[in-house]
């Protein structure tokens, strides 16, 4: 069996006969001889490789979203469409409006990041006709420029806003169920049953959601994946459903898809998620993937822990529910059994007595990994705390609640004595590591201080430098 990868490339129906586990960047720059797309880092952080990928929502409507082609696999292109900087340049006389502005206003110096930046900004103008400055920064968070200082780039987005024509969406056929050959099989199941039976049949296969973490092995070291199962097209996993009490995200829902819902119910969580990777990363990366890798610094976990989220795990023997705080076992080790997946993430909707904040501390505001991420949720009766939840990322081998700090707060008012006791409990409960993101001393101090920030924040004090 050999089935080539079919997709639309810069408006043209295209077949690629490469291995599905090859990165899109390697294919573009190699076989396709489209070398406008650059490799700057091969880890999805610099954005020089940015492309626009057509992503369909649950209703099958397409949308152009930026993605890092260095950590995108060819198999993920099956049944969709891709636009590169060359395609963008062919969109209009002398290029897309943002390209014309950038060429005129000093947005490029060395020019190496420039194609990726043009692509990201064109993607932004697809989604927002008149982006404000904050939205432009959100769109640029995944694109580094070392030469210009960014001012002209931001201005180019503003000037192009009125004149940018929408890039048409092609209508490629949907994905085949399987592509590749016996050396490299790439499965694209459409239903949960298909996914689970594939997992049962191929226990050695790599389970791929957005790939923003695990594809690094391919990008860095050209690792080979003989078998891959993609969750993206599984209809049941794409749903976002609200009941009276609970919001449920399917296991293939991306952060970008979740963002409007988070914004509605937990604005503080949405603020955090806008700093989560970049638009490129959030367009691909899923909530389930963020939890499933069981990383100590996954930014989704602390907030979901204090909000009382639970998971629905699906496997060969059916489904089971598990509170999130039982899911993380050890460094990069979760309670998932063999053949089991995260089918859904369920988050209790906020009640009027809930006060919730999540804060992230990192060296850079945008697109950085947390040194410490702290989340706090209180339920208050009058002035008395009846229920407290405190959780941290970056403080232990797993994202973790601080039960002692919670106990120090419950039954008390959030003021001097209880705060001092809870801060002390936090410093005692964790023995964080020292690494490139911060020393153990700093982590402990900052973690405890985040609780103090929380108290001042809900008291109305301005507590974050970005607020100025």
């Amino acid at each position: 069996m050999k089935r080539s990868i079919q997709f639309v490339l810069n408006g043209k129906a295209t077949k690629a006969d490469c291995r599905p586990d090859m990165t899109v960047l390697e294919w573009l720059r190699g076989e396709a001889l489209l070398r406008g797309t650059k490799e700057g880092c091969a880890e999805g952080d610099c954005g020089a490789c940015s492309v626009l990928l057509m992503r369909r929502n649950v209703e099958q409507q397409g949308e152009w979203l930026p993605a890092n082609s260095c950590i995108l696999l060819m198999g993920q292109l099956e049944g969709t469409a891709l636009m590169t900087v060359e395609g963008l340049a062919a969109e209009a006389e002398d290029g897309h409006a943002v390209q014309r502005q950038m060429a005129e206003n000093g947005s490029s110096q060395c020019g190496f990041c420039t194609p990726g930046i043009a692509v990201s900004l064109a993607g932004l103008l697809q989604r927002k006709e008149q982006p404000n400055e904050a939205q432009i920064h959100d769109a640029l968070a995944g694109n580094l420029c070392r030469c210009t200082g960014y001012r002209p780039i931001v201005e180019a987005a503003q000037s192009a806003a009125n004149s940018a024509a929408q890039i048409p969406l092609p209508t490629p056929e949907g994905p085949a169920a399987e592509i590749g050959d016996t050396d490299c099989s790439f499965y694209l199941p459409g239903t949960l049953d298909e996914l689970l039976s594939l997992l049962a049949d191929h226990p050695e296969a790599t389970l791929l959601a957005g790939g923003t973490d695990i594809v690094l092995d391919v990008a860095h070291a050209r690792a080979r994946w003989p078998k891959t199962i993609l969750t993206r097209h599984v209809a049941e996993l794409r749903k976002i459903e609200a009941s009276a009490t609970t919001l449920t995200f399917g296991g293939a829902v991306t952060w970008e898809e979740a963002l409007p819902h988070l914004e509605r119910h937990w604005p503080s969580f949405a603020t955090l998620v806008r700093r989560f990777g970049s638009t490129q990363i959030r367009s691909m990366g899923t909530i389930a993937g963020n939890l499933g890798t069981a990383s100590p610094i996954g930014d989704g976990a602390p907030a979901l822990l204090v909000l009382g989220a639970y998971l629905i795990l699906a496997g060969p023997s059916g489904e089971r529910e598990m509170p999130l705080d039982e899911f993380f076992l050890d460094y990069r080790k979760s309670a998932l059994d063999k053949g089991e997946i995260i089918r859904a993430i369920c988050v209790p909707l906020p009640t009027p007595d809930l006060t919730f904040r999540v804060y992230k501390v990192s060296k850079r505001y945008d697109q950085d990994i947390s040194t410490v991420c702290g989340a706090f949720a209180l339920k208050v009766d009058g002035e008395t705390i009846v229920n407290a939840r405190v959780a941290y990322g970056g403080m232990a081998a797993i994202p973790k609640r601080c039960i002692k700090a919670e106990a120090a707060l419950e039954g008390e008012r959030l003021d001097g004595p209880s705060l001092t006791a809870a801060k002390k409990a936090i410093e005692e409960a964790f023995s964080p590591m020292s690494d490139m993101r911060g020393s153990a001393t700093y982590r402990s101090l900052a973690a405890a201080n985040l609780l103090e920030r929380f108290a001042l924040d809900i008291d109305g004090e301005t507590v974050e430098v970005m607020a100025l």
Partner: protein, 780 residues
């Protein structure tokens, strides 16, 4: 015309020069059409290279097991030191740095060998299969430890003037202390790369992403056992360099050429980001121990400083970097008695190298930290202490290295920036804010900069060019400068277009090539347009003089009245198009090709005493920055920056603005979010953008006002009286770091200086806040 004259002495109309043309490749950049070396199509048979890197910081290489790698599919050969037919020497100054390790491994990430294979993937996979037998010896990672052991890569340098010891000892107040600043990765977006193509006989063509094609040529020839004339090195553009491709590109190009010679096939060598950051040099981190003597008004009477530069494992450019640090301790201040010593400490980390500013920022930062501290302890305003020490406008004061400070613009830029920034009013607002806010504290600081322009070593201040006019009037331009994004090619083309009076688009810009212009200097030290612009001017002017004679004969006038403007050559009402005149010159057998050469005048330097006039002139600038810090987490942010920058009479104000903004943001990164972090084995753990954080778009001050000091032609005869701009504005970012210190000081009402080193990461800021709180608790 007189060879010593430059265009400032011509009747210049500034039709092309002085205008804000876009970068010549801007349209190609945004369309993805600009070709970088990795974008050049593979010639048939092209092989790819992956490096074998040392996992050990210090030790003897006992053996290399290549068996498994050689058996890997697609592998052609594996290159080790023993395969080098010529000299295994890659160092720019001394002879201490090999292309490939012979015996002694000196840092984690050092290149031991290279796998050559049919695809990049095969080369990478095979490189991971090579095992190295290294007998480890105890490494040294710390500059102060190296200093105690007297372990250096380069001889120690000392700059003295007056009797510093006596001045300090008799001074009313004395202060001593220590300041530490980190290094910085260049993080050029295009990693190091070379593509070597063997030709007939000994010919070797090397496309190299280098700031210094001649150095690549010399070292490739040495390594291959050839002569320089056998090797052609070319570079059309780099995807960023910032000093990181001044000496470091040589290693990559050398290995590519060695592989090409050995295999007889074209060989491409591109370092992946992680390998690039592990194996190639960075900005030097420094520790400075100082002692100063001052009077009660803050006048510095004597200053003594030991500058310990982390040289890394070899000298590379550490010697001249230290020289520039020592010659920039003074910044804008007249220091009557100094004793500065600079040490190039040897550590088992990757060799540090050139990086925009080249030691200048480190020297200046130390002095500014001293002023920040001493002024607070004396109870005077830091800016008042600065003013007390400025070089006088025309007072005949000389620098510690004996150069007269001429055409002093310090007060011009400082007064202007303080006015633009509305300093007095904002100082009051910020103090009020700080009294009313528990968690957030703001800080404000002003910084003046004086930066010396020229390579310290006079020999390097020379440049050549080659200009052809074709018989259709189109012009081909070549010079020794390289294009790394700074817009040098555009500026030099503007100079040539101005001389010929033709539109800029009639000048064809061509790749820098050692077979067109020989024996060039690196495009570095901010000198690119000063040197190459002048050399190109001379070549163009030579041709123009010949053409003017032909035009004069045709028009029946004297050649002195012939004007070249707007594509026409005119005398009174008579005119002839530039293209027609070119044709006429050809018909009359007049040469339309010329080389140009320029050597910077007036400079001299004694490298044993560190005295002389190393700099043709100084460039000035000043900045005011406002920041806010979070005293609970140390998170911080720059809210506003105002800059006034001296550019002389700019060749291209738009490109200069790009240099000012870009350098400032890069400097801000060095002093805030960019932190190099090694683990206990000496392995750099910040080897990609996921762990090494350069500024993003949101980190740029939301209010960012840049003014180019208007109508201030260079007092020296530079090309069209312009000034260098590449490096000086980077140092303006020290204002951000000083503002962060001011914000921490605000906890004491500005009385106490913050103990804050660089980079001011959230962690360092928080620790400085905690220390300040402890100190205040102790004194109250």
């Amino acid at each position: 015309m007189n060879k010593q004259q430059l265009p400032s002495d011509l009747q210049i109309q500034r039709q092309v020069v002085g205008k804000g043309y876009a970068h010549d490749s801007a349209r190609r950049h945004v369309h993805g059409e600009a070709v970088y070396i990795d974008d050049m199509p593979d010639l048939p048979g092209t092989l790819h290279i992956a490096p074998i890197l040392s996992p050990v910081a210090n030790g003897e290489l006992k053996g290399v097991d290549t068996g498994k790698a050689e058996a890997h599919p697609g592998v052609t050969c594996i290159l080790l030191a023993g395969d080098i037919p010529g000299k295994n020497e890659a160092a720019p100054i001394l002879r201490d740095e090999p292309f490939l390790v012979e015996r002694h491994v000196e840092h984690v990430g050092q290149i031991v060998g290279a796998v050559v294979a049919d695809t990049f993937a095969h080369a990478l996979q095979a490189a991971a299969l090579v095992s190295l037998d290294i007998e480890e010896t105890e490494p040294c990672f710390d500059v102060e430890q190296a200093f105690e052991r007297d372990s250096y890569t380069h001889p120690t340098q000392r700059l003295t003037s007056g009797d510093a010891r006596a001045a300090i000892e008799t001074a009313p107040r004395r202060f001593s202390g220590r300041i530490e600043m980190g290094g910085q990765d260049h993080f050029y977006l295009e990693g190091q790369i070379a593509y070597a193509i063997p030709g007939e006989g000994n010919d070797m063509l090397v496309w190299s992403s280098t700031q210094h094609p001649t150095e690549v040529q010399i070292h490739v020839a040495l390594a291959l056992g050839l002569k320089s004339h056998d090797v052609d090195v070319k570079v059309r553009r780099m995807g960023g360099a910032f000093g990181g491709k001044e000496s470091q590109a040589t290693i990559v190009a050398g290995i590519a050429a060695l592989a090409a010679q050995k295999t007889g096939k074209p060989c491409r060598f591109r370092l992946r980001r992680g390998d690039d950051m592990a194996a190639t040099g960075k900005r030097h981190g420094f520790v400075v121990n100082y002692e100063v003597g001052v009077d009660s008004r803050g006048r510095i009477l004597g200053m003594q400083a030991d500058a310990l530069a982390n040289s890394g494992h070899v000298a590379d450019l550490s010697g001249p970097v230290v020289t520039r640090a020592l010659t920039h301790f003074d910044n804008c201040y007249h220091l009557p008695a100094v004793d500065f010593t600079g040490f190039s400490a040897k550590t088992n980390t990757v060799s540090n190298t050139a990086f925009r500013g080249f030691g200048g920022p480190q020297g200046m930062l130390a002095t500014e930290a001293i002023i920040d501290r001493v002024s607070r302890e004396l109870g005077i305003d830091p800016n008042a202490m600065r003013a007390e020490n400025y070089y006088g406008p025309n007072t005949g004061e000389v620098t510690p290295y004996d150069q007269l400070v001429e055409d002093n613009r310090i007060v011009d830029v400082v007064d202007r920036v303080l006015a633009n920034a509305n300093w007095n009013e904002r100082r009051t607002q910020i103090d009020t804010f700080n009294r009313n806010n528990k968690v957030l504290k703001r800080g404000l600081a002003m910084l003046p900069v004086k930066f010396g322009i020229s390579f310290n070593l006079p020999t390097l201040n020379q440049a050549g060019s080659l200009v052809h006019v074709y018989a259709d009037g189109s012009v081909h331009l070549n010079h020794g400068g390289t294009e790394m994004g700074q817009g040098l090619y555009t500026k030099v083309a503007q100079v040539v277009a101005e001389v010929f009076g033709i539109p800029l688009e009639d000048i064809k810009i061509s790749a820098t090539a050692t077979d067109k212009v020989p024996n060039t200097s690196a495009t570095a030290a901010s000198s690119g347009s000063d040197l190459n612009g002048a050399a190109a001017f001379r070549a163009a002017d030579e041709i123009r003089t010949r053409m003017a004679a032909v035009a004069a004969e045709r028009l029946g006038v004297s050649s002195t009245v012939v004007r070249f403007a707007q594509g026409m050559v005119t005398s009174g009402r008579d005119s002839i198009s530039f293209g027609r005149l070119a044709k006429l010159c050809w018909e009359k057998r007049v040469s339309l090709s010329a080389t140009g050469f320029y050597a910077t005048p007036k400079i001299h330097w004694d490298s044993s005493t560190l005295k002389g006039r190393p700099f043709f002139y100084f460039t000035y600038g000043a900045a005011v920055s406002e920041v806010v810090i979070d005293t609970l987490t140390g998170e911080n942010r720059c809210l506003r920056t105002d800059i006034v920058q001296d550019c002389g009479k700019p060749l291209n104000p738009t490109l200069d603005l790009g240099q000012i903004e870009g350098a400032f943001v890069q400097g801000m990164g060095w002093l805030t979010c960019e932190e190099l972090w090694w683990d206990e084995t000496g392995r750099l753990r910040t080897t990609g953008p996921s762990t090494y954080k350069i500024p993003g778009s949101r980190d740029v001050p939301p209010q960012f006002n840049v003014e180019i000091l208007d109508d201030k032609p260079n007092c020296e005869e530079t090309v069209f009286r312009s000034k260098a701009i590449g490096e000086p504005p980077l140092m303006l970012a020290i204002s951000v770091w000083l503002a962060l210190r001011d914000a921490v000081s605000s906890l004491s009402g500005g009385r106490l200086a913050a103990n804050l080193d660089a980079p001011a990461t959230p962690e360092r800021v928080l620790m400085a806040v905690e220390e300040m709180k402890t100190q205040l608790a102790g004194t109250s």
